[in-house]
Symmetry: C2
Subunit: 265 residues, 2 copies
């Protein structure tokens, strides 16, 4: 390929990629993107009880985990009922959130799956209150709630705990600490499978209410966030705080976080 057409120039990559290999001999061009438009996605109401079960089953499906389960409970229901464009979504991608993203234990994957589903249908301003409601409910709820009655993978009573956090690390480690059950165990997986059902159900209730024009957020700003924002919020003395997570799990001076790395007894 000896000439670079205008179309290739505009595409931005035709000139520097040759036969799949990066041709470093040619100067790389930071060409403008056209930022391909995607079709508008229309939300449909789905069933929260079906979604709860899809969440649980989806968690175990091919080991895809919590993010896939929660997302499939919403968008997969639409796909199974309404076909395209829902059915053409590459659902396998949602495994990304498993164990808080490749076991990094950042965001709880079930929450990421649900928020991603919201994001297909609502822009950030519309979505904000929906995500706030789901995440604040999650911080304050004792999980798991769901008890499968058929095809139960681990047929045991599962202890519950409140995480005070939307992070997988805090959610799982706190549960393991309080239950005495290892973070890497089948019972802990079952706990997360049931939690996926819980998050899927709650997210669907929020989505259905939103579609009906009846969504109202019930959870207000956390006390810790209000307190910290008095100095660290936007426009205050030291406006450095980013985010909406409950501050206490990391900034409470609790035994769980104090001096663990430097001076652990």
């Amino acid at each position: 390929m000896s000439t670079i057409s205008r179309r290739q120039m505009i595409a931005g990559v035709g000139g520097v990629i040759v036969g799949g290999a990066v041709a470093t001999a040619l100067p790389a061009m930071a060409a403008p993107s056209n930022f391909a438009k995607t079709a508008e996605w229309i939300p449909h109401k789905v069933d929260p009880t079906v979604g709860e079960r899809f969440g649980y089953d989806g968690y175990y499906h091919k080991g895809y985990g919590c993010c896939y389960g929660a997302f499939y409970a919403i968008v997969g229901q639409m796909a199974e009922q309404h076909g395209a464009p829902y059915k053409d979504f590459p659902f396998h991608m949602m495994e990304v959130g498993k164990s808080g993203i490749s076991n990094w234990a950042t965001i709880c994957g079930a929450l990421l799956g649900a928020a991603s589903a919201f994001s297909l249908f609502y822009g950030r301003k519309e979505r904000k209150a929906m995500v706030d409601e789901l995440f604040r409910w999650y911080e304050q709820t004792a999980f798991p709630i769901y008890k499968p009655t058929t095809d139960i993978v681990i047929d045991k009573e599962i202890p519950t705990s409140v995480s005070n956090s939307v992070l997988c690390h805090v959610s799982v480690s706190r549960w393991s600490y309080s239950s005495g059950i290892p973070a890497k165990s089948k019972v802990r997986s079952e706990r997360c499978g049931r939690l996926t059902a819980d998050v899927a159900k709650k997210a669907i209730e929020i989505l259905n209410a939103k579609i009906d024009g009846k969504f109202e957020g019930l959870y207000g700003k956390q006390e810790s966030v209000k307190y910290c924002d008095t100095c660290h919020g936007n426009g205050k003395e030291s406006p450095i705080a980013k985010g909406k997570q409950d501050c206490t799990p990391c900034h409470s001076g609790s035994e769980a976080t104090e001096n663990k790395f430097k001076d652990h007894p």
Copy 2:
């Protein structure tokens, strides 16, 4: 609709959704899902320098932010060069990760966008080392590195900082603390736009190496994770620790986290 066909039973939702409204009079069925199969997605090499600029421009495109920018830098390049199935991905969904998911400041959205792109092409075992490399590099790197030379949104020298964390809250707040620039400001946004370029470029280098069969992770497990895992890892005395994040930002007993909520001076 007075009868429920077998097909509707199998579809699992036909019997309980009537005309878009949830018919609560009918008992909800937790019917089995077919977990729709999705086509296999094949990765293509893309240009890291073009990706860097796509990341920066994508960050500002419609205010979609970091996650969209990093994802578009990878999958959008494939779309602009190779068409379907890449071009049919609902890219707008990736706004989900902006500000660490609807301003909750959990995972850095640029990392989520890059990990999501990896996840389109590689299952979790293949993907693990790729994500580990990207995330550990991020924890230890002073951002931003990228300096746009044309169409610069905020044409200033941007201070840098090392986050030691993959979380948006820690990454942004630490940068704001060290730079003295508010977390909610145009300069901080510019910092995150350039950081998106950095993450996009690094992720593309990892992806291209993986495609070539030459990917090797350079970053080993963090010292803090090694230390904490001696008691809290799998099979140890108190096996409660979930995750791979550097432990020190929250468990170091540092001034930043100690006693802030309860006993802040």
